[in-house]
């Protein structure tokens, strides 16, 4: 057991300070201390992506990031992407296109898709498939996830065009 460290994080726009062992994983800080249970632990080896969150503008697997590494970081989880009164386009699109079943991969998948569309606002199907290849889904076979992400991109781009 190591000495606890003072850690400061901004999560979904809210500032937090807490004491954590250096070895404590970001996923458990989010889930067990901040009660953000959207991100899930599926493998603890970076393979499944259920724990995906955004850290300083990049998708990370929070099961293999130490809390200490996240000190000072700005983090967005699924809980920060939309609210019951205003779901994000991606959240709506996943429902519309049946892009989820058991829901366990969904928070990580949508969080990853959100960053993917920041990185590449108008992806091809192949780019979407490659872009989410760090996130495993056991239920959907990905076909409807890909469809949902492409549809969300089209909606977002359509709205942008309409605004211009």
């Amino acid at each position: 057991m190591g000495k606890k460290m003072q850690i400061a994080l901004t999560v979904n726009g809210e500032a937090h300070e807490l004491l954590a062992e250096p070895r404590e994983l970001l996923i458990y800080v989010l889930r067990e201390r901040l009660n953000l249970t959207g991100p899930h632990a599926g493998c603890e080896t970076s393979h499944c992506g259920a724990c995906t969150v955004e850290m300083n503008g990049k998708s990370v697997k929070s099961c293999t990031v130490f809390a200490a590494q996240a000190n000072g970081a700005t983090i967005t989880t699924i809980e920060g992407l939309g609210s019951p009164d205003s779901l994000s386009v991606l959240q709506q699109s996943f429902r519309e296109h049946h892009g989820l079943q058991c829901g366990y991969c969904t928070p990580g998948m949508i969080t990853r898709a959100h960053r993917l569309l920041q990185e590449n606002p108008d992806p091809t199907e192949e780019e979407v498939r490659f872009g989410i290849s760090g996130n495993l889904c056991r239920c959907t076979g990905y076909q409807n996830i890909v469809k949902a992400i492409l549809a969300a991109a089209a909606t977002i781009n359509g709205a942008k065009e309409a605004a211009e």
Binding site: Q92, L100, Q143, N144
Partner: protein, 806 residues
């Protein structure tokens, strides 16, 4: 005067009932990260439990020293078999009539076996304490090959069974033998095969795999010593069965146990069984008086909780020269691992494997299955299939291909020639199943036309010629499958688990303002029950699906049910839902008659209302009736509007389908590309086409994983070689192809709404379709049989052994 608008079409649309692609009600919480899975549960004072596991596959446990672990700050308890023995909980019964160690009792029998249970204030302290537990092992000889396990001098695995010459399923002929289960007429089958014009013989291996849901298994057990109530939240596909087992094991009366399955992050069979983690968490909570959480990590999940398959299937199939099948003989050597913990109905130790005559009219057949102990993890669950049905479908669909080679016949034509004809249903198979309905030729012809089968075969012939001329290094495989499943277990007369009949149930309460709640004995793990069961009810009782809450998984509120696996929810609980809805409607009719002052026989049901025959302007909607049920003193009718139905299915259902996989194979690298996958499913009446399509996509992807790379393999000393997601293949979006779905609709004649179940069809049919594509690509070069998984290295090896690398 009642207003006759809206139109019948508008009223039907408003219900969002059967046949509509209703969007899922579950999605609101899941897309916002507000699901409630077991690891999301937090209780005041909650402790964490985790296991010390065996690094050895077979060893004597000479001593366990937990002093250092107990001394670590934050450690509350370390439990071993010695602690559980006074409670008689160091062993537990399995679903298959065997018993299984909860914690190592004198020896360990597989790598990853539970040896001690550490309870601590948090998961980090738990992990530290596990490292401090010293276990002294003495290694014993290991056997991981079921054939070697049955040799005379093989190591004795189950010393606890010494001298027992019979088990739960009859005679044991060797110390590592569990049972021989037989059905069919062996003498007659042998006679037919020996006299046959053509015989094909092959060993078909369906390798050991693992359901590997994205959420691992886990639970939170909480003993409230003040009230004497035990609550267990967990990843349970059958919560009521868990409650009953927990009561029998602990002696706590069943009414004092509440089992809750919260949201489940995929099950696929992995969450059917009762695991040592559940037992130890409950004991730890009783001992400490605090809630105890146990959550597997991925290695624990892949190494220790239920595997699937591991069937060595030796087949002989006979036919006339022109391709009429005359007989089928199958002997299976079934590797059950260290304990027989298969999840099958009690009287079926090999599940429904004897559906292995498939879609074909085979006059005589025999199946014998030998269950064997080895130093591997226990399990044998139905991984996205009804009990052993995927093994059966793979076996017959491979045997058909091998027979086609033997006959020099096209495999599609051979199938078509031997299908059970539409006019033969209901059809009793040689192994005793009564197939309820089917129209195989229509489905098959539609599938072959959709993919231009003749054109594909021409292209394949051209490709083989070009390959031989040295113009290409890629081969084309056409993988065919026509599968028949048997799902919806099942009739109480022959299906039970631990003596409990495999009925299922639904209880409905209609609220005064015309909305409702229905509770079922099943539990969704992603199938969308909250969406689809409301659709069944909407059509039955005429209230909009959006006004019906579906609740499952809490044994304190839900009626008793046997849970969700083996595609049984729609065939059994779905039927119970329709039947309970019909009871509601029957009472509603009496109430409507009183309201309209007519005889109830003068009323007829019309979408969402009872109408006076011949006077369509005189009616009462279900909403009106619901209100009346709570606001009137109606002579001879009790107030309220509720119903419960326990449904005992008269028969199984038999979904079927026709799949075609077109695969490009690179002979030099062994890599493959699925160019086209066409899946036609017939699941009878279609409740929600959107959800059906989603189930097919998902099941096909699990089939892709199994056929093309997934395996749980062991080395010679019993080390599990695939215990992380680094080594255990789960396809990403990149490896997963695009699927084309299609359907025919042959309703089940005995199911109240004609539905048959679909969640598992794509896995059952998908595995042989992918595997047959690989085999078919090499058929022209002499390949008969190559075992799965067909990963790049193994495909390369096929090519190499056929001399295709020059």
């Amino acid at each position: 005067m009642n207003d006759l608008t809206p139109t019948p079409q508008e009223r039907t649309a408003k219900l969002k009932g059967l046949g509509t692609s209703r969007k899922r009600v579950e999605d609101a919480r899941f897309t916002q990260g507000k699901g409630n899975y077991v690891d999301d549960i937090k209780m005041p004072g909650m402790l964490h439990g985790d296991f010390v596991r065996s690094p050895y596959a077979h060893a004597r446990v000479k001593s366990i020293n937990a002093d250092a672990a107990r001394a670590l700050p934050g450690v509350i308890a370390v439990l071993t078999a010695a602690d559980l023995a006074p409670l008689n909980l160091h062993w537990m019964p399995t679903l298959a009539g065997d018993r299984q160690m909860v914690l190592a009792d004198g020896k360990v029998l597989f790598q990853g076996q539970e040896v001690a249970f550490v309870v601590a204030t948090d998961r980090y302290v738990c992990a530290d304490a596990i490292e401090l537990v010293e276990v002294d092992y003495e290694e014993l000889p290991v056997v991981t090959d079921p054939f070697k396990a049955l040799e005379p001098g093989a190591p004795v695995l189950r010393e606890d069974l010494a001298g027992q010459t019979s088990g739960a399923h009859g005679a044991r002929r060797h110390h590592n033998h569990i049972f021989l289960w037989e059905t069919g007429d062996e003498a007659a089958t042998n006679q037919v095969i020996e006299a046959a014009e053509v015989v094909a013989e092959e060993m078909i291996y369906y390798h050991r795999v693992h359901p590997c849901p994205l959420e691992t298994c886990g639970c939170v057990a909480s003993m409230d010593k003040v009230n004497g109530k035990l609550t267990v939240f967990g990843t349970f596909q059958a919560p009521h069965v868990v409650r009953t087992v927990a009561s029998l094991l602990s002696g706590i009366e069943e009414h004092n146990i509440r089992v809750v399955s919260p949201d489940i992050g995929g099950g696929f069979g992995n969450k059917v069984g009762v695991y040592p983690g559940y037992v130890c968490s409950i004991v730890a909570s009783i001992v400490t008086g605090k809630p105890v959480k146990w959550i597997e990590d991925r290695m624990d999940n892949l190494m220790a909780t239920a595997f699937a398959r591991d069937y060595w299937m030796k087949g002989r199939i006979s036919a006339t020269k022109d391709g009429r099948i005359t007989g089928l003989h199958c002997h299976v050597t079934a590797d059950h691992g260290a304990f027989d913990a298969c999840a099958d109905p009690t009287r079926f130790p090999a599940g429904f494997f004897h559906i292995c005559t498939g879609s074909y009219d085979i006059p005589v057949a025999y199946v014998g299955v030998d269950g064997v102990y080895t130093n591997k993890a226990p399990g044998g669950v139905a991984y996205r299939c009804s009990f052993r049905v995927t093994e059966a479908a793979y076996f017959i669909e491979r045997m058909i291909e091998v027979l086609a080679i033997e006959l020099g016949m096209d495999a599609a034509e051979l199938r078509s020639k031997n299908f059970i004809r539409k006019d033969q249903f209901p059809y009793t198979s040689a192994l005793g199943w009564e197939y309820d309905s089917g129209d195989y030729h229509t489905a098959w012809d539609k599938a072959l036309a959709a993919v231009d089968y003749a054109g594909l075969r021409r292209e394949q012939a051209d490709r083989v010629a070009a390959f031989r001329r040295g113009e290409t290094r890629k081969l084309l495989g056409i993988g065919l499958t026509h599968f028949t499943e048997i799902v919806g277990a099942g009739p109480v007369k022959n299906c039970d688990i631990l003596g409990m009949g495999m009925f299922d149930s639904c209880e409905i309460r209609i609220h005064p303002t015309g909305s409702a709640i229905a509770r079922l004995g099943t539990i969704s793990q992603g199938q969308g029950h909250a969406t689809t069961f409301a659709q069944i009810l909407a059509t039955e009782i005429g209230l909009p699906a959006d006004s019906i809450t579906i609740e499952e998984g809490d044994t304190d509120t839900a009626p008793y049910g046997l849970g969700t696996y083996g595609s049984r929810s729609t065939p059994v609980a779905g039927a119970a839902t329709a039947m309970a809805g019909r009871k509601i409607r029957a009472k509603a009719q009496m109430i409507a008659a009183w309201l309209l002052e007519v005889h109830d026989g003068d009323l007829e049901w019309d979408i969402d209302r009872f109408v006076v025959k011949g006077a369509p302007e005189r009616f009462k909607t279900m909403k009106d009736i619901a209100y009346a049920a709570y606001h009137n003193a109606i002579p001879g009718i009790e107030p309220g509007l509720e119903a419960v139905s326990y449904y005992d299915p008269p028969n199984m259902t038999y979904p079927f389908g026709a799949y075609v996989c077109v695969m490009e194979i690179d002979v030099d690298t062994g890599t493959h590309e699925v160019r086209q996958f066409y899946a036609l499913d017939d699941c009878g009446t279609r409740i929600n086409p959107m959800i059906i399509e989603g189930q097919v996509h998902g099941g096909l992807t699990e089939a892709l994983a199994i056929a093309m790379g997934q395996e749980i393999a062991y080395d010679g000393i019993g080390n599990c070689k695939n215990s992380t997601l680094m080594d255990f293949f789960l396809p990403t979006a990149v490896e997963t192809p695009h699927y084309t779905t299609d359907h025919t609709e042959t309703p089940s004649p005995h199911h109240p709404i004609g539905a048959k179940g679909v969640g598992e069809s794509p896995n059952v049919g998908g595995v042989p379709a992918f595997s047959n594509a690989v085999h078919d690509a090499f058929r022209a070069f002499g390949l008969r049989q190559a075992h799965m998984p067909h990963d790049h290295w193994r495909i390369w090896k096929i090519a190499n052994q056929l001399g295709l690398h020059g």
